[in-house]
Subunit: 146 residues, 2 copies
Amino acid sequence: MSKPLRQRVILELLENSAVGSQEDLQRALGRRGLKVGQATLSRDIHELGLVKTGAGYVLPSEAASEPALPPVSRLVREFGLEVKAAQNLLVIKTTVGSAQPVAAALDGQDWEEAIGTIAGDDTILMVCSDNRGAKRLAARIQEMLA
Amino acid sequence: MSKPLRQRVILELLENSAVGSQEDLQRALGRRGLKVGQATLSRDIHELGLVKTGAGYVLPSEAASEPALPPVSRLVREFGLEVKAAQNLLVIKTTVGSAQPVAAALDGQDWEEAIGTIAGDDTILMVCSDNRGAKRLAARIQEMLA
DNA sequence: AATGACTATTCATCGTACTGAATAATTATT
DNA sequence: AATAATTATTCAGTACGATGAATAGTCATT
């Protein structure tokens, strides 16, 4: 079973009906042919940033609204080619056409050094708070390439 | 070590110098800090479509010139959300921003049913030879989502 | 406070992709 | 034809991410 698919179905279910517990959710997913354990749902709920209210689980406005991407380490390993710091900028090269998902994953990290991320076709530009931060991030990403 | 990175370095080495054997290649990569076994190089050479000539390994014009993408089954599993056939077209939905790498991998398959592939941001359109071919491909891709 | 319902986490396992040592197969050289 | 060099493949092992049964922890109800 594909995790992004499952998470998208979870989000759809929340839009269309009240889901008061993980067990409800498990049942609802089962009715759509998705058999999944409670532990997995707990993790999905955490990843999606869902919150439990009196009316059941809801998606707060600042939360994901999109299925989780694969781990950034995997995406960098799969698509990343090189990373260079240039003052407070990080330039990351990816395989052709792959910059976008990698950039999204990088953007989703809680790295305090990173201010923003722009993706082209095979190049990602990360703006860092300062030169030192860029160097630190470069090293971090370089490790994922190792 | 990241496989795309290694394959890109291999391609660069071939552009810049003669590489007469896999052992030469292994040594050249070693000089760039990439330690890799002969078996892996044999596979890389196969994946990249390199050909051995009297002058050493070359990249034929119809071959890759780009590092290999991850297996299509992985990309569909990681990013794919749904697949639907509409006559001789296949519409594949992906997570936001992920259509391009998935489409590239789909395009790289030797599927006789597929004529061409276009990727947007989160949607891929595959043109198939006929309605039946589209249905067959849809089923194949749906299996990767399972 | 006790109990039940619910959620989070641990731990063992699985699937997948990949690697390299060893070996088999192929090619080149003598 | 014999031998050496080279390449391809097998097989065992590794890394990684994910899963669910079991359990721990938390919250709600009585």
